[in-house]
């Protein structure tokens, strides 16, 4: 840490290079064109009877062409709401995107009209969900459902549409696609159904694919086959993948980079090897120490006690503090600033600054607090609600 650029900045007090060089902690995106999706300070809140649920509270990450970003974190940490926000599929009310930007292929999708957004959904960005049954309609056969997805975005009919359907099914390695496409969802195995959902999501050659725990319900060997398939499709098409999961095994196998989410925020980002070799946020460290290994017998797992805080009543400081082995007073009072551990590797934790608030960059400190200082956000929320009414 001693030689890290962050340390240099802290010591020299020179932060001039900070803002545009390192927008989301993943380091400067050198080839701007390669970034196909970028979230900047995204905030999505739900207005509920028990309070404002800050499901996504200042999330920034980006995905480049041909790479896979893993988003990990326990259930309820805001992974899916982030994904649904990108797709602009947040049910509203009660949900509102109250801040930030979602830049897809150079364009902020939050500025688009509903019609424009509908065109992008499924064509530029596709999504695969955990439960294939909910994504498929039981009363239509596979041909109809894949065909419908293609027809929305491409003007194909007759034989050329059928050809395209068969092509998409072959792309997800469905054997005997010509005959299997006459099947209804219940006639297929779980793994096959998930492949059909995959076929629908990639049928229009999206540039970004969001996979939200697509293999949780599948058996080991079927899961392995599906992951292999995603990698092959990525190699063929260069699609950028956001892989949402709570399984570090999937991250190890599939991802180039990782964003660890906790209570609506990204707490650590880095290359996959940085995260595994040197987890720097106590939550990442704890998560990794709580999963058993297959390759050698783990003597004793670490168990993270307690549960995450309710997102409608977040503590002022670090939301992980009540469960953290290392927590000090400062943690409970002040939201930790982001520190750079290494190139492209950052984490938001006071431990990395020796629990010394004076070591924090004042601007970063202010920024970290304002994420949740909701004066602005509350105002936007009220505005959004007023518009909705």
């Amino acid at each position: 840490m001693v030689d890290s650029p962050e340390q240099d900045r802290v010591e020299s007090g020179d932060y001039s290079d900070r803002e545009d060089a390192d927008r989301d902690g993943f380091g400067p995106s050198t080839v701007q064109d390669d970034v196909i999706l970028e979230l900047k300070n995204l905030r999505t809140y739900f207005q509920t009877s028990y309070g404002t649920v800050k499901a996504v509270d200042g999330v920034s990450y980006h995905v480049k062409r041909g790479e896979t970003l893993g988003v990990v974190g326990e259930s309820g940490s805001g992974k899916s709401v982030t994904a649904l926000s990108i797709m602009r599929l947040i049910p509203s009310p009660p949900g509102y995107i109250v801040g930030g930007e979602v830049i897809l292929d150079g364009q902020n999708v939050l500025d688009l009209s509903d019609n424009e957004m509908a065109k992008i959904r499924g064509s530029k960005v596709g999504m695969i969900l955990q439960d294939p049954m909910t994504a498929l309609n039981p009363v239509f056969n596979i041909e109809n459902q894949v065909g419908e997805a293609i027809r929305i975005h491409q003007n194909l009919k007759g034989q050329s549409l059928v050809d395209k359907i068969i092509h998409s099914l072959r792309q997800v390695r469905i054997p005997a696609a010509e005959s299997r496409m006459k099947d209804f969802p219940h006639q297929l195995s779980g793994g096959m159904r998930q492949r059909v959902v995959g076929a629908i999501s990639i049928s229009c050659a999206p540039i970004v694919l969001i996979a939200d725990e697509p293999t949780t319900a599948l058996d080991v060997t079927i899961q392995a086959g599906y992951l292999r398939l995603l990698k092959e499709i990525q190699a063929e098409t260069g699609v950028g993948i956001i892989f949402i999961t709570h399984d570090f095994g999937i991250v190890a196998k599939m991802c180039d980079r990782v964003a660890v989410m906790y209570a609506g925020r990204i707490v650590e980002t880095g290359d996959v090897r940085q995260i595994f070799n040197e987890p720097s946020h106590p939550y990442s460290e704890a998560l990794l120490a709580s999963v058993p290994k297959l390759e050698e017998r783990t003597q004793r797992l670490y168990s993270i006690e307690g549960q995450p805080p309710p997102l409608f009543d977040l503590p002022p400081g670090c939301p992980f503090a009540p469960r953290c082995e290392y927590a000090q007073d400062v943690c409970r009072d002040v939201y930790p600033v982001r520190s750079e551990i290494d190139e492209n590797h950052t984490a938001s934790c006071w431990k990395l600054l020796d629990f010394d608030i004076s070591k924090a960059d004042p601007e970063e400190l202010a920024a970290a607090q304002s994420v949740s200082v909701t004066a602005v956000a509350e105002e936007q929320l009220q505005e959004a609600e007023a518009v909705a009414d």
């Binding site: 060997t221 297959l294 390759e295 003597q299």
Partner: protein, 364 residues
């Protein structure tokens, strides 16, 4: 401030297996075939589904035996047979050496008291309209003649043992998180002071961050009470962490069984090898050569003849695999495998020896 790594080192995992410990539970040739509706106009043979097809397992005091295998291979049916929730089609279950079917009523009641279960889904396995204390007290009320006061004391005891507070006894299941609900399930199973617990995927439905809480609780309870566990899981790494003994199931049969360490470090059966090769790595630098199995698991209604794995086996050695069902051979100490790659069945088959397909016992 202790670090996470220090914390882990201060605590112990499972205790090594005592091979001389008493055998608590044993199955011999245990089978469950389901008669399915069908057949021609109700005549003729109804199709039977061979969910469990002759398995032999031994569980000792203080031991955890893990059952692994893909969906539908018969793990939960085995659990139901052991819990007396299904009646075996064939084979026997012994409790401390006594055959269950030959037990007196009183002994059967004692069996049910001693063999308890924790199920996968803590959301649906607890009655939502009952307070936690009633949920935990219920088995005590049904099975024992304890007084109200005694039951109350026992309930507080077990709730404390699983890490719940006294005040939580008055709450309803929906007021708990998934992990806490699974603790309630464990408390309920523990209340009768059983000798065996059948754990059917006890952490699969839980979030990763709380799985370790429950696994460690089970490890500690086992050491405290010398409990025998039969644990069903499909996560291989979890089995390696928890289980002294591992049994790999495929289509209702055990393909490989023995001490967990050799099974994971030196799997002998081609199916076990494929399963392990497909499991997710624990680090990005680990790249396993994946053994890809052709096709899907065949229907248990019409399982393949001979070795049931033969249509998908990448190293099938010939007709012997299609015609002779391999028995379990002890290939190395405490490590049995059911496959003709081991033993001399192939030579005997090629020499034209006629052996009934059902029972080929290899001499290794």
């Amino acid at each position: 401030m202790t670090t996470i790594q220090e914390q882990i080192q201060q605590k112990e995992g499972i205790r090594p297996l005592d091979v001389n410990a008493e055998i608590i539970l044993e199955t011999r040739g245990l089978a469950k075939h389901f008669e399915l509706a069908g057949g021609f106009l109700g005549f003729g043979n109804k199709p039977t589904l061979k969910a469990v097809d002759g398995i032999d397992v031994i569980v000792r005091a203080g031991e955890t035996v893990g059952l692994v295998g893909e969906s539908g291979c018969g793990k939960s049916t085995t659990a139901k047979l052991l819990l007396g929730l299904e009646k075996p089609t064939a084979g026997q279950i012994f409790f401390k050496g006594e055959d269950f079917t030959k037990m007196s009523r009183a002994a059967k009641r004692d069996y049910r008291k001693n063999v308890q279960a924790v199920f996968q889904d803590p959301w649906s396995s607890l009655n939502p309209r009952m307070r936690v204390k009633s949920i935990v007290a219920e088995p005590l009320q049904i099975v024992t003649k304890m007084t109200k006061g005694e039951i109350g004391t026992r309930v507080s005891e077990v709730l404390e043992e699983v890490g719940l507070n006294a005040y939580q006894a008055n709450l309803y299941p929906h007021e708990f998180s998934g992990g806490q609900r699974q603790r309630i399930g464990v408390a309920r199973a523990l209340a009768l002071n059983p000798e065996v617990m059948i754990l059917d995927e006890p952490v699969s439905a839980l979030d990763v961050s709380i799985r370790a809480q429950i696994l460690n609780l089970l490890v500690d309870l086992q050491k405290e009470h010398n409990l025998a566990y039969l644990m069903i899981a499909h996560n291989l790494a979890t089995v390696r962490y928890m289980c002294h003994t591992t049994a790999v199931m495929y289509l209702g049969g055990i393909k490989e069984i023995g001490d967990s360490e050799p099974i994971f470090s030196n799997p002998l059966h081609p199916y076990t090898q494929a399963l392990i090769s497909a499991a997710l790595p624990s680090h990005p630098d680990i790249e396993r050569e994946e053994i890809i199995l052709p096709g899907e698991v065949p229907s248990p209604v019409d399982p393949p003849s001979g070795c049931t794995f033969n249509p998908r086996c990448p190293v099938k050695i010939g007709d012997v695999c299609e015609q002779w069902a391999p028995g379990l051979t002890e290939e190395e100490t405490s490590h049995w495998v059911s496959c003709h790659l081991y033993g001399d069945a192939k030579e005997r088959f090629d020499a034209g020896e006629a052996i009934p397909a059902a029972a080929v016992e290899d001499d290794a």
